[in-house]
Amino acid sequence: MAAVTRGSYIFVSRLLSQHLCRRSFRLQNFRSGRTLQPLTFRCSREPQVFSRRALHAASVCCGPVVQFKLSDIGEGIMEVTVKEWYVKEGDKVSQFDSICEVQSDKASVTITSRYDGVIKKLYYDVDATALVGKPLVDIETESSSEVIQEEDVVETPAMAREEHTHQEIKGHKTQATPAVRRLAMENNIKLSEVVGTGKDGRILKEDILNFLAKQTGAILPPAPVQEIQTPPPSPPSTAAPVGRPVSTTTVAKAPPPRATPVFTGKDVTEPVKGFHKAMVKTMTAALKIPHFGYCDEVDLSRLVALRTELKPIAESRGVKLSYMPFFIKAASLGLLHFPILNASVDEDCKNITYRASHNIGLAMDTNQGLLVPNVKNVQLLSVFEIAQELNRLQALGTAGQLSTAHLSGGTFTLSNIGSIGGTYAKPVILPPEVAIGALGKIQVLPRFGAGNQVVPAHIMKVSWSADHRVIDGATMCRFSNLWREYLENPASMVLDLK
């Protein structure tokens, strides 16, 4: 790094001017791996703004098409089956990139490319038999004739050249393809200074480009124009000595005209498929239901204390106890008094079916999306049994192994969105149900307690939605009150537990 002088930086900046790069880099990207020839080119005298984009290779030019033959696999094998192609016609490949996978007699072989270039033709389809010694792919490499045409004299600092020859004499083995070596040499970069990020520490094209960007970004003056201008009356921080290339932070000047970063992101359109397509249908049907919402807050202070007490007992039985089993059980107790909330209506709302089982669904966020497995027959289960079942469903959900039996047959749903965040919500009823509740997060908030004292209370917000065709506000309100009473005073649940 220290060896690179200022003179060579200017040289580099000129190298990277748009005018030159398009021609020089086009040529060097596609060559077959043979002897290293120094590529020389014209050097423009005008200072040009450094443009990073110029470093990217332009389009391919015509070069000789090389037939890459299938090499000997060993053991006297003469034919193999092509099992998988990693490239297709038109793809760019570098030396050592994988081209295809072939199989012969229980041996799986990865064929890698010997050249840099563009794939022009694949000789076999998948499952076809390929013959050893016959062409496998055609690769278009760079043309050697064009190189000769471009040879012009350039002012290459003598020192840089020596360093490179030194490199070769020492026989220092830095892994890099010939194209990468040439790129490094043209920019007077010592391969030993570049950190390779490829396989086995191999130096890739990207590594050279990053190295260059770091160098030029750090020391190259923002614009040659600035050095000529007289500095205006500068702010107190005039620490910048005269004659040194100034950095933009110490002098208050108009920022140099820089190429505005261009956003090259593109919109991506893809069809909605599978599970998400099904969700589109479900949600469209769901929002045909006239919803009404009803919200309330619940003081869970006593429940929090109870759970803290019961948690170790449950753990000793091998079950993780959260608040959900309590919420679910309380809902089931409430549904016994308000069975219309555990019903379903048919297509045109002509008939209403009061479901006997309380199959309470729990909305679960999995990596596939929102799945709602349900706990069957909650009316028959104890809080502990519900906790066990929830553990089981959660494990299946994480493993992506929920079946239709778990996911269908629900009659009422609770969504614990509060475990991720949120207070009030507006849940959407999942057909064929008629009601749903969304539970916010439990927060410690100040509330008035006995004797008008302000006490900390564990408050959770609940938001219910119900089908207004068959449920009215008063029913929802009374159900919610009952549910709330059970949770605010867990001892009362004991009275009604079956």
């Binding site: 799986s108 990865t110 969700m279 239709t404 269908s408 057909p431």
Partner: protein, 380 residues
């Protein structure tokens, strides 16, 4: 432990760049030992970790002048070859029930069942030194020395047969640019009933060009040599390996989950565990089968035809021919529609079909539900 470090230093020392980059802490480097062998025994019984270790050695160790023998065993698992179709090779629902894992290895060949009674051996060598016959000779000679009364022979398909009839070992291998590995199994005392339960197709009607497995009658060594203990077998194999290749290495225990010794092995194991590798690499195939649908009350029956094309483990196209008399064509069409693009997996499809079923009420709901169940059963 010092033994392990020395061995790993031997491995690391040859890969010059890597050593410079990671600043190896191994103090000992024996580069003068030009032609040497190494015998490693894995402490892990996790099939993914062991396969990842194989990959790691293949990718990071310079095998030009040395050979390595890796000995390993796994908890019950089914291992399919690189280009095979798991749905046609093994019974996925049964494996799920029995808690048997499924792994796809990077070498070719057929499907094998691994458990604690099955010993795996991997012979690592340079591509030039790749010689499966010679490797199998190590195994057959070792067995002959241990139990001269047994008739042990290697075939030209690189299987090892006991008494000319029972297969006790199968082979697979992988060739990369410069290196190669050849691994084989050895049935010492495997669970034969579990083996026969899981090594059958998950569903009927699969048509594919994936490499098929060739079933053979198998036997355990302990069936014919009940006194042969695994430890004895391991010792004999190591000795024969040293004799055959002129090495003198002792067994070294390695832990494939040790990131500091094998940098990047965790990521390799994670890739091998992923759905995309295990199922997503299945060559394109087609399933064509007949579904039997029935109603209970009142009893009624119907046959439907299902044709599914699966590419990269996902449903590319799905055609359901259900007679219009059984249910409106619109409904069976909706089911096919929802399955396209999803993984060919009963769980992923279950989520999709239950979501779809919610939107469908009406008199055909239960028939549609049955149809969904029948289709999901085909997915294994």
């Amino acid at each position: 432990m010092l033994q392990l470090r020395r061995s790993l230093a031997l491995l690391r020392g040859e890969t010059g760049n890597q050593r410079a980059r990671t600043g190896s802490t191994f103090p000992f480097l024996d580069s003068a030992d030009s032609s040497s062998g190494l015998v490693l025994q894995s402490q892990s019984t996790d099939v993914y970790q062991n396969l990842a270790l194989e990959d790691w050695i293949d990718a990071h160790v310079d095998l030009q002048r040395r050979g390595i023998l890796l000995l390993w065993r796994n908890r019950p698992a089914v291992v399919i070859g690189r280009h095979q179709n798991p749905w046609s090779e093994c019974n996925l629902p049964a494996m799920r029930k029995m808690g048997i894992a499924l792994a796809r290895r990077r070498s070719g060949g057929g499907t094998v069942f691994h458990d604690h009674g099955n010993l795996n051996m991997t012979f690592f060598a340079s591509k030039k030194a790749y010689d499966r016959k010679r490797n199998l000779k190590v195994v057959t000679e070792a067995l002959r020395r241990l139990r001269p009364n047994l008739d042990i022979r290697a075939t030209d398909r690189f299987d090892i047969l006991l008494n000319g009839h029972y297969k006790i070992s199968g082979t697979a291998s992988r060739l990369s640019r410069k290196s190669s590995y050849h691994h084989c199994t050895l049935l010492h005392s495997a669970d034969r009933s579990a083996l026969s339960t899981v090594l059958r197709p998950s569903c009927p009607g699969i048509q594919s060009n994936a490499t098929p497995s060739i079933p053979s009658p198998v036997a355990n060594l302990t069936d014919h040599a009940p006194s042969l203990v695994l430890e004895e077998l391991l010792e004999a194999l190591v000795q024969q390996y040293n004799t055959e290749f002129g090495f003198s290495s002792a067994r070294t225990l390695v832990d494939p989950s040790d990131e500091s010794a094998f940098t990047g092995v965790g990521a390799m194991a994670a890739e091998l565990r992923s759905w995309d590798w295990t199922f997503g690499r299945t060559p394109k195939f087609r399933v064509e089968t007949l579904l039997e649908l029935r109603d209970e009350q009142p009893p009624a029956r119907c046959s439907a035809q299902l044709q599914v094309e699966v590419k990269a483990g996902r449903v590319e196209s799905c055609r359901l021919d259900v007679p219009a008399s059984w249910m409106p064509l619109r409904l069976s069409g909706q089911l096919s529609d929802v399955l396209v693009g999803e993984r060919f997996c009963p769980h992923r499809a279950a989520a999709a079909v239950t979501a779809m079923l919610r939107a469908e009420k009406g008199q055909f709901h239960s028939r549609l539900h049955n149809l969904c169940e029948a289709v999901l059963a085909v997915m294994g």
